[in-house]
């Protein structure tokens, strides 16, 4: 597969000779997985287990993907703490959390398969926290009726990624680290491979593969205040659109209610929902537990309306309803936003999250070690002695590639998507803990189905066309060719400002229209990007390429947000404050008609798939 005359990196197979191009490096696989977070790794393992030759291609080093930052846990109705829990309850919670806009079949598969996916991690070496009788412990989280999140303190994501990484390494799966994919290649209507570049050398690489799994995560870097890492530039969303696939639910962006607000350097960094699951409460500057004032009609029946009842719930869930601090994230984020706007915020523009006065120091340090460390090191705050200051931060995009719920294949044959880059599973709002389980359940399904799709071709593999490869290379190098003087870092900063200001938690028609105009202007400026230096490990060039993805995805978000004239989950319209039954059956579908970023984003309405009767009954009680 590799040319022995070149100097090669011993591990990655990366060319070590910088300089003039001597032709493209090529690799042949049955399945190529883009992204090495939870979904990508799980997909690769599944494809390998199905007998496929698999490669993982990822922008960072292995084990550094954004999954590593997940804190709270993996939602799975194992019933280790509450034997009454089962997939039907989890399914119901998930659908209600998503305000019934979820793809019901995905929500069903997710709830049914999550427990086995967690046990599998244990099989591969994960060490979860235990219950007193030795089973995997499960903790409380917003929107979940029972304590359901398998966890390791507040570093569950690290445990998950390390376990999957170690499994993938043990299976001998090829990993192309620090390698960015810029194009999906096609032969007729079908996927034939992927094109990318090594970040280290800037050299191009072509993957010949009939099946490609997108597992690239989200879009958070288009916002100013976000919990997401630099990699979250909507690459998979954009790659899918360019390849002819469709996106759904892009108007739904989750703002996590609790991000750090101070010091400025850490603004947006996640403060886990486990703080509230483990007893923490939100207070305003007047010391009031304000969440009791923000219980929506939709959740009144299951939410405590007095402090007494809420306090009882932590120990006796049968006879008490949930504290309002544990409403789904969209509700809590909006409430915090309102308190701050009403002038009842904390000194640095957040609200107070207090666990110090409610749990003893030893408990806090044991259950929330990373939070303790994070606040101590970065903000000089001892969370066992004083409250934290927190505020909403862009955390997750519910929208993503429209896929078949059973196979995770997009409308483009051979192109699969799993994890945050896929849409449908979470409807208009994702429950905490449902992301890690989503990665495992649908990562596995995508990898498995991608492997069999290649297998069914029986050697009749689609062709990678030279002219497509040349065009992809020319496009990637374009930022070096132009001398327009625009700095990619500045454009990114301006985009973040537009999205934060005009397409944030609370939206209105006028601002959304303005945002679309601004994005258009940014797109024009992005055509005149100038990049300094050469192709070897050049972050300026890398950003220039990622920026085109961020711009098209941002346009999708703004466009869909303007179209949906109601408020639901992660989409709140000031001018349409309530949910509407009519909109409750509609998905907004976005495509790129021309198949390139020069063509406009098109939007159409599509009916939401209707749940069968036996599942509908679960919502009658």
């Amino acid at each position: 597969m590799t040319d022995s005359t070149d100097q090669r990196h011993p591990m990655t197979g990366n060319r070590m000779d910088p300089g003039a191009d001597t032709g493209f490096e090529r690799h042949e696989y049955d399945v190529v997985v883009i992204g090495a977070g939870g979904a990508g790794l799980r997909a690769a393992i599944a494809a390998h287990d199905a007998g496929a030759r698999v490669a993982i291609v990822c922008k960072s080093l292995l084990g550094k993907a954004h999954t590593v930052m997940a804190e709270g846990g993996i939602a799975a109705s194992m019933g280790n703490v509450y034997p009454d829990d089962n997939w039907k309850v989890h399914f119901r919670d998930t659908m209600r959390g998503g305000k019934m806009l979820n793809n019901w079949r995905m929500a069903q598969l997710h709830a049914q398969e999550a427990p086995e996916r967690v046990l599998e991690l244990e099989e591969w070496g994960a060490l979860f926290d235990r219950t007193p009788d030795g089973l995997i412990s499960q903790r409380d989280f917003g929107g979940h009726r029972y304590a359901r999140l398998a966890h390791v303190g507040d570093r569950t994501g690290l445990e998950m990624i390390r376990t999957l990484q170690q499994r993938a390494v043990a299976l001998g799966i090829d990993v192309f680290m620090e390698c960015t994919v810029t194009d999906i290649l096609k032969d007729g209507g079908r996927v034939s491979g992927a094109f990318g570049y090594w970040r280290e050398t800037g050299r191009f690489v072509v993957f010949d593969s009939p099946s490609v799994v997108l597992a690239t995560g989200g879009i958070g870097k288009s916002y100013q205040v976000t919990s997401n890492s630099w990699e979250y530039t909507g690459d998979g969303h954009a790659l899918a659109m360019k390849a002819g696939a469709s996106l759904i639910n892009m108007e739904f962006v989750q703002f996590h209610p609790t991000g750090m607000v101070w010091p400025p350097s850490v603004k947006g960094i996640l403060v886990t929902e486990s703080v509230r699951g483990d007893g923490g409460v939100l207070k305003n500057s007047e010391g009031e537990r304000f969440m009791f004032d923000y219980i929506p009609e939709f959740f009144k029946k299951e939410t405590a309306d007095s402090i007494e009842e809420a306090e009882g719930w932590y120990t006796d869930k049968k006879n008490h309803r949930r504290p309002p601090e544990l409403l789904p994230r969209d509700e809590v984020a909006r409430a915090i936003n309102s308190e701050i706007k009403a002038g009842r915020g904390s000194p640095h523009g957040g609200v107070f999250l207090d666990i110090a006065s409610r749990r003893d120091a030893e408990f806090i340090r044991r259950r929330l070690p990373s939070m303790y460390h994070q606040f101590k090191e970065l903000a000089d705050v001892d969370i066992t002695a004083e409250p934290m200051e927190v505020g909403p931060t862009c955390h997750y995009v519910m929208g993503g590639v429209e896929v078949d719920p059973d196979t995770e294949e997009s409308i483009v044959p051979g192109l699969y998507a799993a994890g945050e880059v896929a849409g449908g599973m979470h409807g208009s709002n994702r429950l905490g803990g449902n992301s890690l389980s989503d990665l495992l359940v649908f990562g596995r399904r995508a990898g498995h189905n991608a492997a069999y799709a290649t297998h069914r071709l029986k050697g009749d593999r689609p062709t990678v066309h030279d002219e497509d490869v040349k065009a992809a290379a020319a496009q990637a190098l374009a930022p070096f060719e132009i001398d327009g003087g625009e700095n990619p870092y500045t454009i990114q900063k301006d985009l973040q400002d537009v999205m934060q200001r005009l397409v944030g938690i609370i939206r209105k028609a006028g601002e959304l229209e303005e945002s679309l105009k601004e994005i258009d202007k940014l797109k024009e400026r992005a055509k005149k990007l100038a990049v300094e230096g050469h192709r070897q490990y050049n972050p300026g060039w890398h950003l220039a390429i990622d920026l085109t993805n961020m711009l098209v995805v941002s346009e999708c978000i703004a466009k869909a947000a303007l179209e949906r004239e109601e408020s639901r989950g992660g989409h709140t319209r000031d001018d349409f404050p309530g949910p509407s039954d009519e909109w409750g059956t509609v998905n907004l579908v976005l495509t790129l008609a021309g198949g390139d970023f020069a063509s406009p984003v098109e939007l159409r309405h599509q009916r939401l798939p209707v749940m069968p009767g036996d599942l509908k009954e679960l919502f009658d009680s």
Binding site: P10, K64, V68, L127, F128, G157, W230, S265, E377, Y537
Partner: protein, 254 residues
């Protein structure tokens, strides 16, 4: 409050390089990585640096700050005097790729050599049972974020390239210890840890423990107990044989 920070940052590649002098505007409450990012965004667009989470969780932004191996995202500017020049150089034990980015593939190669967990069968209800106090030891080691600062600072390899072949380093002694202490694992990696991973070359100077940003007691809790376990196996064949016959140690050597 904003002020002008004087920085010296190593710029170069495999063929060599030098410290570049920069003045960067920074704010109170910022960390070294913020200053590096501002430098990148305003003065040196092609400055190569690895980072991901900016919250001390991914272990990507390891570097040497005023000669001390640290995570850039967890090093606050307030730890330094305002007038002080902060010097940032790439970690020394690994070959430079460009600027602050080094080739850490040594670690990924060593990771491939550790035989994975192989657990006893599940209980009849399809679940497994382990007690919290039994998993806690392994959990401490699994806090490792793979920043490789311990590898960087370990004197067995820091200035002795020739030792890299036979020495896996503290990060992987953690891994061996974690697996050895796993309540349900069936592989016995003690011989491997001693022979192939070079556990014996470590003379417990605790440099690794000192730089660990996760505060893992690498030497005391992982390396020393692992050394003892290896010795148990090696020098006490009677106990070993007895344990094997009575199945008190049902593990298989790998």
């Amino acid at each position: 409050m904003t002020y002008d920070l004087k920085m010296r940052v190593w710029r170069g590649d495999r063929s060599g390089g030098e410290l570049g002098d920069y003045t960067v505007e920074v704010e109170d409450g910022e960390v070294v990585l913020d200053a590096i990012h501002r430098l990148q965004a305003t003065q040196a667009g092609d400055l190569a640096v690895r980072w991901n989470c900016k919250a001390g969780k991914c272990g990507s932004c390891s570097a040497e700050i005023n000669g001390r191996p640290r995570l850039m995202c967890m090093t606050r500017l307030s730890d330094f005097d305002i007038s002080e020049t902060i010097t940032v150089t790439p970690v020394r034990a690994f070959p430079v790729i460009r600027d602050l980015v080094t080739d850490v593939s040594f670690n990924y190669e060593k990771a491939k050599q550790v035989p994975a967990a192989k657990l006893t069968p599940r209980d009849r209800d399809g679940k497994r049972r382990m007690m919290q106090q039994d998993v806690e030891r392994g959990q401490e080691f699994r806090k490792c974020i793979e920043c490789f600062l311990c590898q960087n600072v370990c004197h067995v390899v820091r200035d002795h390239e020739e030792n890299k072949q036979a020495f896996a380093g503290p990060r992987f002694f953690l891994r061996y210890a974690e697996l050895d202490m796993h309540p349900l694992d069936t592989n016995d990696r003690r011989k491997l840890a001693q022979d192939a991973a070079g556990l014996g070359m470590c003379n417990i100077t605790k440099c690794c423990t000192e730089v660990c940003p996760e505060g893992i007691h690498i030497t005391d809790n992982a390396i020393i107990p692992m050394k003892e376990r290896v010795v148990d196996r090696k020098y006490d064949p009677v106990t070993w044989l007895g344990a094997k016959i009575r199945r008190r140690d049902p593990r298989d050597e790998v």
